[in-house]
Symmetry: C2
Subunit: 304 residues, 2 copies
């Protein structure tokens, strides 16, 4: 049986879009890769690195591609999605890979060809940015969260699942509103805590040598996300403000409480609280259960 191959257009040729390009070429899923980036240096570099075969405007790409992947910062996504949906061919699939979904899905519902669009959030990333940061295994073994699937056609959803599999991911379905809440808890809060840790240590420890020499004590891993791209994260934080502010309040309240226990010298209470939090070990080291796999199987998809 001949393998199905697609012309894939990618808008945004940084870590996210570039890594998808590398993998889709490597697996043969893409027979041709078109690229676009609003930053001309990034676009030129992506072409030079061979991430894509040629550059195109958003409209050209929308007309010529079987699949369009939008991989731009969340504040740029609405305009790009509007342009793409207005120009896309009748059979093409459009996906976006952004970290917030509720507002974009609401916008999509008012656009032409809505059923050809599938809202995705691949749970993958590193603290590096730009075309040079791209690598083909970024998505391997990760989860692709597909939101509001009832608004996508069976054909579009089927192709989105092919794309998900080609990138090495397993799909999971979620309401876009729930997605934004859960991702604020598990991802966005982590980024804020890490950026603030970086800020605090830079303020109190002006001697970089001390930071460097002592970073092996756990600091390096907790502050890793503070290396992340401000251009990507500032819009995510403001877009998901409602969910993020609520969980930030709770984080600050927990810090206050822990501070009080330290100030009181209450070693026993500190011990017991940390012992409870240690359960996170079990959660993170959990195996993918059979149930998970069953729930995520394409055949369980109910069409609206």
């Amino acid at each position: 049986m001949a393998k199905e191959q697609f012309t894939v257009g990618i808008i945004g040729l940084g870590l996210i879009g570039g890594s998808a390009a590398l993998r889709l070429r490597a697996t043969g899923f893409a027979s041709r890769l078109l690229g676009h980036d609003s930053n001309p240096q990034h676009a030129a570099r992506a072409l030079e690195l061979g991430l894509v075969d040629s550059l195109a405007t958003t409209e050209e790409m929308a007309r010529a591609s079987d699949i369009v992947i939008i991989a731009v910062p969340v504040n740029a996504a609405p305009k790009v999605l509007q342009q793409v949906m207005a120009a896309v061919s009748e059979t093409a699939l459009v996906v976006d890979f952004g970290s917030t979904k509720q507002r974009l899905c609401a916008l999509a519902n008012g656009l032409p060809n809505r059923s050809q669009y599938v809202a995705c959030h691949p749970i993958a990333g590193t603290e590096y940015t730009g075309p040079e940061a791209a690598f083909s295994t970024l998505y391997a073994g990760k989860v692709n969260i597909i939101c509001d699937r009832e608004h996508s056609s069976a054909q579009a959803l089927g192709r989105a699942l092919q794309l998900t599999a080609a990138l090495g991911m397993r799909p999971r379905y979620m309401d876009s509103r729930d997605h934004d809440r859960h991702i604020a808890y598990v991802s966005h809060l982590s980024h804020v805590s890490s950026f603030m840790l970086g800020q605090t240590v830079l303020e109190v420890e002006p001697d970089e040598k001390n930071i460097f020499d002592m970073a092996g004590s756990g600091f390096a891993s907790t502050v890793r996300l503070a290396k992340s791209s401000p251009a990507m994260w500032a819009p995510i934080f403001t877009e998901n403000a409602a969910n993020l502010l609520a969980v930030l309040d709770r984080y600050i309240a927990n810090l206050h409480n822990f501070k009080e226990l330290i100030a009181a010298g209450d070693e026993q209470a500190l011990y017991e609280l940390m012992k409870k939090i240690n359960v996170i070990r079990k959660v993170l080291d959990r195996e993918t259960t059979d149930e998970t796999i069953k729930t995520d199987k394409p055949e369980t998809i109910k069409q609206a």
Copy 2:
């Protein structure tokens, strides 16, 4: 030239003591390893795993060893140090590997044989604990902070530097008071922020599957330290309370400020602040400079 070999006694056979044992045996630095652990199961397991050759009481070990390494939680260290210093042979070296130094050094100054003691803090660790967590390369390439060296004899310091080299570390000298301040900033604050992140996410996200599926988004690395041992960390936090509380206040203040910027939707200010914090990238990726190496060279040691 025949290689110098030592009888090494290790008190506390967990990650820290056990990893030292494995490395000192592998390099031939230790010809014989004696061990002690207040937890009989840990002691038996360490013997079974071959971390040490035989078990001994603290006093037996102090009398029989050329080098005694104290690797116990910081709240147990004062009593152990007193016992060891009272029984140690005239030529032996005593070191401790604890994460706080000021109080222990102050205590040591009043003990017999003070000049045979060298206060150390190897900047190395993982989130795992107990004899099974030990591995021989834990210390490779890390920094060993040696505190208040002016209170140690040239002989003791020389042997401590041999030990540091055998473990694969480079030495760095620091006043014990400065050590506790810097380590609160760079290490202890990271642990608090990580534990509180774990607590917050466990509270707001009762569905473990969501945490598991989304942990790849940065959460796994920022929460890693929340797997750490409460028995080790509760005493560290209370012992170093003064330094830790001050920097925790600043961390909380920074979080408040960031929250306000998100609430105000001030994307530009968020962007600029995160851009400044990105400098942490340069600090963490910094090379060891020639100056660093020169400063740390044994020959620069001034004896009191």
